[in-house]
Symmetry: D2
Subunit: 444 residues, 4 copies
């Protein structure tokens, strides 16, 4: 039994002990990240896309119940049935479920009950892992690994969701996710913008090697790339502010038609979390409100804003004529060619919870663990794509419609969760994720 | 300074001590009623009409800040300004405010902070009461009394709101407001339905005497009533179920046009909180789910349902030809003629939190403290109506549009809050209040 | 067979010839009024409340098919069945029907086919009238008379609907309903505003005498009125403009809560059809755009605007303290006391299609055939109200919810259709009818 | 002056006479196609996407006013300014415009006035063409040619729009676009389904040669295709009905998530225009209602339906494992390899107004002029894409978001308008266009 097809089955390698240790570590991380929250923060769903933290805690546990405990003969308890309707996200093959928009509209189970449920699931998974028939261990390990990858996705989501939740409050009553000492932040001198040439050609893309990956990163396939030059770093707040100051949000001709409609419908006039106070721009961060740091990469922009910015840049600066957003394969090719160690101020483990500046003159800075970078590519199946088998067939494939791929991981992505072939995806208007802009230029 | 006009000013009589004692008692009741709640229950706003409990606790305190502390020179603190925008309900003259629909969408102030704020307001009002210039005491007492009446209205609201909030949960996860011992409930034999004759004539209506009342109960005015006969008790669940069984919810011709549209739009097929489980009707109560008691008065019906029921009754039972809902003045005239002591199982003080059966053969049973009774009267100003002065002019007058009057008080109304001239009002589709049906019949 | 109950049956008196003559006259009027229209104007439904003219022509014919031809054995044709679903307005007892909002979204039957259908119905009704068994003639005449009253209501509606339809066009492309010679309009000197005293008392209201009336005008009943003083004329444009100039549309405290919400939701800033062009107010009329005539009565205001205007007037002018909108019985009592001949510039027959000024010093001017006058009274059943029997029970009763009564008839009401007891009714936000404001003042 | 960039400018070759002749022919075709309409049919906008015919006639004329007459010094008339706001579709650079949804909600200009306006524009364009400075003739010809291509797009749209408009009517009142003699339609024996192999490789795509094309067909670029096998014909009604009979519209797992939401929201249960009458499927066509012909290609399916059908087919028939929708470049490569003369029953000129069956054993049947065929490709700019210059930059580029490419032309496409590189595009839920399904299979 395996969720993946013959021929590309991923066996979670390593001993029971190693698997158990990873299980405990990842599961614990979800608990730890909720420590700073007040009871109120666990229940709010400010927009349909943002699930309240209690639900995240429950849903990631439910995933193990339905995909591990049930199929592999683990112990079940009454709450498994009671919470099933509430905690199923979108798996039609696992039965009916609470409409997504209603996750913030119930008060039972309480947060305390959800924590107890997590503990119960953890214990039962550990028991199962110890007692499972050795002949099923590989299969169990496979699904368990997926459950942990799934949980890490929700850990990243958590930071973006709690940022939205706390931002709902009146500015004067708003509290940061965590209280940080008010230290002097040195102004970083960022690397000047350069474009790094890549040769293109008929190349291979997708996940290579034996390690685990999502079904959407496969199969490896050929694709022809024309030569291109990728920006050495992300667009900064200062550069983006020039776009604002040039009335970029008022010039319809810079925008895709759908983007302009969204801009008008939602009253966009700056990136999400930019707030104008007494004539100055401030930024809402997980550490609270801060004056907008000009050197930091611009963050929380939609695809439409990234695209309009690139068009504006292409038209206004002669030296940037023809700049645009990269395709996902341009990004991947560049990343493969140059990626060495991510910067040490990258990924969730840096504990910054905020994107770091580009400095130190790397050939390509901020490629991993800083901000997800919008590509112009739609989230499409790779040629020959096959979904996971069984329940998990619903994990990726059915969402391959009208979404754009983002690459690179962000400052709230767990480092071990990331790969150079990793494909994140969101619909074009999305702004609450840690999303930034990297430009590319074609050879003319 | 007074909120009421010369000529009909109500002076809160009695000593500072008496006023202080009442202040403490009423304020404490709001705390006490929240004791059974879990942290989660304080923040939910399931529909726009239902405010979350934290907001009720805050708003009733804010009322004293803006109407007592500010105008009479009490001590102000930083939170007064910080919370003002959040806690103003609908007073345009007191500045801008959070849209009503967003009371469930913020997490600050926390519930704990709101409790602290209540305590601060209480202390400061008590301080003011002790130190106020004697020349202002009467005026202060007047407004303070209104603040307490206002708080009692929110206490009644609280019980109806928490009933909705808890009902949002899945049936198997739903918890009652309070856990009651599972005692055997004796089946009550209710009084048979009779109609009690009243003579009519050119009569006076409205609040008489020196006691305090809302502006909408005045002035006393003449009104001509034709003779009528009022039902001795409310309609029971058993009687209402006959309407259901006769397909009352499918017969368009029984319904007002707006009522039929609402029925279809919201899928009404029974009163709110009637739930069909395995072929039997159950009832959601503050004590949890119970099999539908046939002898109890039907509750949680909209005006449209009450009106359609009366029309059905009038058409199907020859002996009930011509029954309808009473006007508010028919109800008031009957109440004045016969009201003696309310039944001891009535009002909030009975601690039933649920309507009691009619038994014991009173001339008119269930007239006070059982259920609010829909009248056919619109909530209109009495001839010569004058709103309170100043801020409180917004309390009643501006809502006199497309609402119907209810009379009688309910099982969650504080007894001292009620008067025979009391006019409650809700829009016709409202179902989450404790609303019932009393019929009347005209002399032909 | 009769639509009205025993005891208050109206027999259409007169010979077959007289009835036939009236039938032809009323039916022809609906044709005549459509003559000025272009083909395009017949099909538009700009808002749900406004039916396109083709539908009006069809529906008024359908009324005779279902209420006259069918029950009395007239000849039926294929189109009767084919059009039935389309032309039924709201009679649940006559089967399913096209949702009201879709009357402008079909192209068949064509307007030409509808005209042919009208002619066919006319011929068949005339045939029936000639051949009907004398024993059924009275009953037939009764229903026929109702059909004609119904048609006259739609004739009035037509003028209000075509005014909306033509107003949809761009100002520079808009064409008037009829082209009138550009004559010099003399400025009228209007009667000064006065208040005429009425004594009140326990009085009788409702339709008296033997003539025909709608079921909602009955029964005659007693009602006590306190003394009051009614304005001698309607409020003028000049007087209403003072309200605008005093920022009446910006002062929330002047408005009912529902009215303020509507004002904000729909962006009201002046009466319907007032348009600001180059700093001056213009008025859209059935004769085209005209500079706002200050002496004419203000028209096309909602109940909310009328009510807010009265409140503003009451607060700003010491001499008008306590003015408000009249109740429908105050209006009726005043009208009965003083009504003689309507002014000659009144009603549809004057062919003005626009309200006339008050001049000539009548005791009470503009009481009939000028503008419908908002009263503060809800459209409620009179005590003891009984709907028509059978199908026509749906004509009035089910709409008695959240509507306000208007009295007086308008410049587009056929004179013979009007009575002093006539109760028109619209919901409070309605502005496309010919509605104006008359004030009243109570004795203090 | 030219709308296209240096280096890829298309000069409309040929004499003034040839251009004039084409101008007259294309413009006349728009008149001819409206001949069968009734006056009512010209004004209806049943859904926002469908413009009423009067608007199409006006808008295609307006296009010449703003892009030809104005820039090249043609004669202007008052109506040019008067209608400008109404007839601008989406050109932000040409000023403000009527919201798209309101094209069916005005009655002026009348249809007659629009016809007059067309004649005036035609005359003025012809005058300009005769008098224009020879130095500007090439530029003028370029834009004029675009105007005619634009008009041909609207001619195709017209047939799809009038099909929707007429379908709004009740089935028994519905009239076909044209009355055809009731001849016996021979049942066609369709070619059996086969898959034709193509080798793939690093190939070139986009418009080649000197002829005119839209900006979105350029530049020619390399793209790598893996080997594939394309179905020899379109999916038939009979084949699609198997999908229905297998409950394809009830199986959520077959559908993209967005597609399932749309299916549920709009109640899809069959292709558009399939109607169930007395247990049999009927089809609405421009020739009226016809029993569903099993051999004809299925038509009026959304991308979501096409995609779900392919997934179902892939899963249910072993011999069809791996079938899917083709990419646009797979389609183009196959078309280039095999396309010879289109079938004679293809394109608008065949006057079928309906897709023809595949018969006669062509290698690839129905590739051109039968139905637009959904591809899985998003409508993206080709690498190096440059929009037209000036106003016409808004023609294509800003719509390149969340739309899918369709290839092949349809039975209502003018033959001369089509090219093998032609890219049509619609959003995935679109059903009112003539859209069908062709399958492809990858080499495994």
């Amino acid at each position: 039994m395996s969720v993946t097809e013959a021929g590309r089955e991923f066996v979670a390698t390593g001993s029971r002990e190693a698997l158990l240790a990873r299980f405990r570590r990842v599961r614990q991380a979800s608990i730890t990240m909720c420590r700073p929250l007040r009871a109120e923060d666990f229940r709010l769903q400010p927009i349909e896309e943002v699930s309240p933290p209690w639900w995240n805690l429950g849903h990631t546990s439910w995933f193990f119940v339905r995909n591990v405990l049930e199929p592999f003969g683990g112990r079940l308890v009454r709450e498994d049935a009671q919470y099933d309707f509430l905690l199923n996200s979108y798996y039609a093959s696992l039965g009916s479920r609470l409409p997504r928009s209603r996750r913030g509209s119930i008060t039972r189970p309480t947060t305390e009950e959800i924590y107890r449920y997590r503990a119960s699931v953890d214990q039962r998974v550990e028991d199962l892992l110890e007692t499972v028939d050795p002949g099923h261990l590989d299969a169990l390990s496979s699904v368990l690994a997926i459950g942990l990858e799934h949980e890490q996705q929700h850990q990243e989501l958590f930071y973006t969701e709690i940022k939205v939740i706390l931002a709902q409050n009146l500015r004067e009553l708003r509290q940061p996710y965590r209280a940080v000492p008010e230290e002097e932040r040195p102004v970083d001198a960022v690397d000047p913008l350069r474009f790094v040439d890549f040769a293109g050609g008929l190349l291979e893309f997708g996940h290579r090697g034996q390690g685990w990956c999502w079904d959407n990163e496969l199969p490896v396939h050929k694709f022809y790339l024309a030569p291109f030059a990728l920006a050495n770093r992300l667009v900064t707040n200062a550069e983006y502010q020039e776009f604002l100051d040039d009335h970029g949000y008022d010039q319809q001709l810079l925008w895709l038609d759908n983007g302009w409609a969204r801009l008008q419908g939602e009253g966009w006039h700056a990136p999400l979390y930019w707030e104008r106070v007494d004539g100055c721009w401030w930024l809402w961060t997980l550490d609270g409100m801060r004056p907008l740091p000009p050197e930091e990469p611009v963050c929380h922009v939609s695809f439409y804003e990234a695209d309009a910015f690139a068009r504006w840049k292409s038209q206004t600066a002669a030296c940037h004529r023809g700049v645009r957003l990269p395709t996902e394969r341009e990004w991947e090719q560049a990343a493969r060619s140059t990626l060495c160690e991510p910067q040490e101020d990258a990924f969730l483990e840096s504990d910054r919870l905020h994107p770091a500046c580009a400095k130190g003159g790397r050939s390509l800075a901020q490629m991993a663990g800083c901000l997800w970078q919008w590509t112009s590519s739609y989230y499409e199946p790779y040629p020959g794509y096959r979904p996971f088998l069984g329940v998990l067939a619903e994990y990726n494939g059915k969402f391959m419609d009208n979404q754009r791929v983002l690459r690179g991981g962000s400052c709230v992505t767990p480092r071990e969760h990331f790969r150079v072939s990793y494909r994140n995806f969101w619909s074009a208007p999305t702004r609450f994720q840690f999303t930034g802009i990297r430009l590319v230029r074609s050879e003319e």
